[in-house]
């Protein structure tokens, strides 16, 4: 952490990690076909690279049972100026490989019920943060990192703890998480992520103009953001998932020791093992209003 802070930031050079939802169940029924979405994405990536020749873009695909890096402009930059065709060819090949692998993994583990799986956003966020940490530790001057999540499928409440942990580590490393929802449902996770890390949360209405949204809202570097008026979220869904059944709850019980959240009263905290049954002079448990 300290090493990250003492470093010099290049204030208008960005490192953008884009997390792309490749959940087949979502794209099968999405209003915007994946082919079009992919086109918008490639153009956006190229625009970022054109904005500053030092900009760096990494794309991470979040599938149903795995996630992986599918594009890194750092590797491609050797050829010189960014080339749309080259980016496109490289990214599409990698995405194809990734989806094939993801399909094999999904078929293999068998736990994914047909039609109802969430994408592995917790894993993708962790990958993104690892990449950013590596960049932090590499040289004395590094670009300003940020994460952009393009999510379509609904949140997976079972990933609540992992996602929240990623959010908090992003907050600690001062990495904003931007979110752009390409699906129909608002994402409580990403609302919280953007709220906590100071990123932008956006749920576009006109999905065929996705590139326009991306370019208008998410393309500007962090330094310029201070001078721009970007969309603000009205209200954040602060609801948490309970740790016992992974349900999203309005009101529940909070462990007084480790702050784990439960939807009903337990004698013992399943996370830290504290027992609530004893009569204690101080607080045992109390419902927390969210």
């Amino acid at each position: 952490m300290t090493s990250a802070h003492s470093k010099l930031y290049s204030d208008d050079v960005s490192l953008v990690v884009v997390i792309v939802d490749t959940n087949p169940f979502f794209w099968a029924g999405a209003a915007l076909p994946f082919a079009d979405f992919f086109g918008h994405l490639i153009h956006f990536v190229n625009s970022l690279l054109l904005l500053n020749h030092l900009n760096q873009v990494v794309v991470i695909a979040a599938g149903v049972s795995s996630c992986a890096y599918v594009f890194d402009s750092g590797n491609a930059a050797a050829s010189g100026s960014p080339d749309v065709a080259a980016t496109f060819a490289k990214a599409s090949r990698k995405v194809e490989e990734f989806v094939k692998q993801d399909a094999r993994d999904t078929a293999g583990n068998g736990t994914v019920a047909g039609g109802g799986a969430a994408s592995l956003f917790s894993g993708a966020l962790s990958l993104a943060l690892c990449y950013i940490q590596r960049v932090f530790r590499s040289g004395t001057r590094h670009p300003q990192p940020r994460i952009l999540c393009l999510q379509g499928s609904p949140d997976g409440p079972e990933q609540y703890v992992a996602v929240m942990n990623s959010i908090f580590s992003a907050q600690r490393s001062m990495v904003p998480i931007d979110s752009c929802i390409v699906g129909t449902q608002d994402s409580a996770f990403l609302q919280q992520a953007s709220y906590i890390t100071g990123g932008v949360y956006l749920k576009p209405q006109e999905l065929s103009g996705l590139f326009q949204y991306l370019a208008a809202v998410f393309a500007s570097d962090l330094h310029s953001r201070a001078f721009l008026r970007l969309p603000k979220t009205l209200g954040v869904d602060f609801r948490a998932s309970c740790f016992c059944h992974k349900k999203t709850i309005d009101m529940g019980y909070v462990c007084s020791v480790c702050l784990s959240i439960f939807c009903k009263y337990h004698k013992k905290c399943s996370t830290c093992g504290s027992e609530f049954s004893r009569v204690m002079p101080d607080l045992n448990s109390m419902p927390d209003q969210k």
Binding site: P24, G183, T184, Q289
Partner: protein, 602 residues
């Protein structure tokens, strides 16, 4: 607790010269009777009307009179001001007042309709030290919100003083930790030689010994300590003992070897002081044994020049020479320094107040016996000692013992309310666009996605990535959204949800919110109910919650129609939280009645 009578001046204002008279205080009342019977400044005040007390700081730098201010109402600042002749009187008075006020505020007077609280009565009112009381008062003074809650619940007989503070232990501990707990150790200044002062006219030489010095002498010269324990008061009086000690010191200082020898032969007690300290010598021998055997200390001693003429350390104007032959004590400066340093580093083990030489000697003896006798300096004990030295901590350099805690950082509740306002407008679960139900199997879904990717590869990128009319639509939507959110989220307080409410209602709501939080904390912490005290507490808390519930309903109903919706939005989470508590209570009652136990399971 008794009464207190003290001379004081009663002042109506700070500038007022004051009326001299007598201040009389007992546990219930304070009365001021002016010396001049014609004066109208008579006072007869019930302590129950006094809510707090303040005092000014008096130091030598400014001629400020010591003042004590008894305030009637901490908010309004009305009260009685007294000036005292000196700080001592004021402090006496202040402590008395603190005790009386503590007693008044610590006791909850029995409520006529409440069931008798046996255990409380048995425990009696809390005995609080005045320091504890001061801490609580200080916290209340500094935090007006806390003060409000305290007034509402403790003075309103809903919570007991102890219950109120039990949840705020951390605050109190923090306050307590800031006070220094440093124990004074030995001074590092060499006190070993008690300097004689001669008045220059007579031959009399005066040594002045204080208890502090005596303590240090005992610590540095174990032989003197042993002699004191042996001889005083059986053989010698304390005064004689020290006279002899000083005489011996004097002889040593003047290096009058012959005289010293003669006197030592005459007086066996005096001889003790003149001889080398055998205990120290024994310890030194043990220590030498522990020295690295590869070190030849005698050879090293030969390397220095101290024993040569014209070399050595100047002490008291004369050159020191080591003369080991003499039976009499010949302490060199380096020996003294070493011994002193060892004692200072060892630190003060006894916590006894130094009252007189006798107690000091005994306390020191006790602490010595506690430390294991290391006459057999084997390697094991040596290692242990090393460990002890490493483990011995210097207390005031350590972090406080209490586990560190991070206070929950709860943001301004206003933000929460504002975010609540938008949520009902946009319920989670999306807008009109419903996703087509995807009843595809896993394979089908992946196949579809792969088809999409292949089509991308074949068709390449579409040339205008966004149609211009769509782009315009997007820009319009973004613009509109930004200006709308600006209108709603503007930092201007008039535009936030709470800002739109009338001032009075808003303050009332915020007050209720903090009150509810406090009550709920006490409510939930009382479960499971195991004692009568807890049962009674729950009843009291429940009553208070019902009252607040009623008040919230009143606020909702009496609201102006244009803000009624907003108010009900704000009140909803509060009533929900209260409902959860009431439901829990009801459940518990039903459960206990089902099992046939007495109500509430005790």
């Amino acid at each position: 607790m008794g009464t207190m009578t003290i001379g004081a001046k009663y002042k109506t204002t700070l500038k007022d010269p004051g009326t001299t008279g007598v201040l009389r205080m007992n546990e219930d009342k304070l009365a001021f009777i002016p010396n001049d019977p014609r004066s109208l400044m008579k006072l007869n005040v019930d302590f129950r009307t006094i809510k707090g007390h303040k005092f000014n700081k008096v130091d030598g730098s400014k001629p400020t009179p010591p003042l004590l201010n008894l305030s009637k109402d901490s908010d309004k600042g009305g009260g009685y001001m007294f000036e005292f002749d000196n700080v001592g009187n004021r402090d006496l008075c202040r402590d008395f007042v603190a005790r009386v006020l503590g007693k008044h505020q610590g006791i909850v007077p029995p409520r006529p309709n409440a069931p008798p609280e046996k255990s409380v009565a048995a425990a009696g009112p809390e005995q609080l030290s005045s320091a504890e009381m001061e801490r609580r008062m200080k916290l209340l003074r500094e935090d007006s919100e806390l003060q409000k809650l305290h007034k509402k619940f403790v003075l309103g007989n809903i919570l007991q003083e102890s219950e109120f503070w039990a949840t705020r232990k951390n605050l109190l501990d923090d306050e307590a930790n800031t006070a220094s707990k440093q124990k004074p150790g030995f001074r590092s200044v060499m006190l070993a030689d008690v300097r004689p002062s001669a008045d220059g006219q007579t031959n009399k030489v005066t040594f002045s010994l204080t208890n502090e010095i005596i303590h240090q002498i005992f610590a540095e010269k174990p032989a003197v300590h042993r002699a004191f324990l042996d001889y005083v008061p059986k053989k010698l009086s304390e005064k004689d003992f020290w006279t002899k000690y000083c005489r011996a010191e004097y002889l040593l200082r003047t290096k009058n070897t012959l005289a010293a020898k003669a006197e030592a032969a005459d007086d066996e007690e005096l001889a003790i002081f003149l001889r080398n300290d055998d205990i120290v010598a024994k310890e030194a021998k043990l220590k030498i044994k522990r020295v690295d055997p590869t070190l030849d200390m005698e050879a090293d001693a030969g390397d220095d020049y101290i024993h040569l003429p014209d070399h050595g350390i100047l002490r008291d104007g004369s050159r020191e020479t080591t003369d080991t032959d003499s039976e009499l004590a010949r302490r060199t400066l380096s020996q003294d320094l070493n011994r002193h340093a060892a004692v200072v580093l060892e630190g003060r083990k006894t916590d006894v107040e130094i009252a007189d030489a006798k107690t000091v000697a005994e306390a020191l003896a006790r602490s010595k016996t506690e430390t294991p006798c290391s006459s057999i300096a084997d390697d094991a004990s040596h290692e242990r000692l090393l460990k002890v030295a490493r483990m011995t901590e210097i207390e005031d350099l350590q972090a406080p013992r209490s586990l560190p805690y991070a206070p929950l950082c709860i943001k301004d509740p206003r933000e929460y309310f504002d975010s609540q306002q938008a949520n009902p407008l946009r319920p989670l679960g999306g807008d009109g666009r419903k996703a087509r139900s995807c009843s595809l199997s896993t394979d089908d879904a992946f196949r579809h996605l792969m088809d999409q990717i292949s089509s991308v590869k074949v068709n390449k990128l579409s040339c205008p990535v966004v149609q211009s009319n769509v782009a315009l639509k997007v820009l319009n939507e973004l613009n509109e959204g930004i200006s709308r959110s600006r209108r709603l989220n503007l930092k201007n307080p008039q535009d936030s949800l709470l800002g739109r409410l009338p001032h009075r209602t808003r303050d009332e709501l915020m007050d209720h919110w903090t009150a509810i939080q406090e009550l709920l904390r006490h409510f939930w912490s009382s479960y499971p109910i195991t004692t009568t005290v807890l049962y009674n507490k729950i009843q009291r808390v429940k009553d208070a919650m019902t009252q607040i519930y009623q008040k919230l309903q009143d606020i909702k109903e009496s609201a102006q129609p244009d803000v009624r919706h907003e108010i009900s939005q704000l009140v909803k989470p509060m009533t929900q939280a209260l409902d959860a508590a009431f439901n829990h209570d009801l459940e518990q009652q039903q459960k206990s009645s089902k099992t046939g136990n007495k109500p509430n399971g005790f």
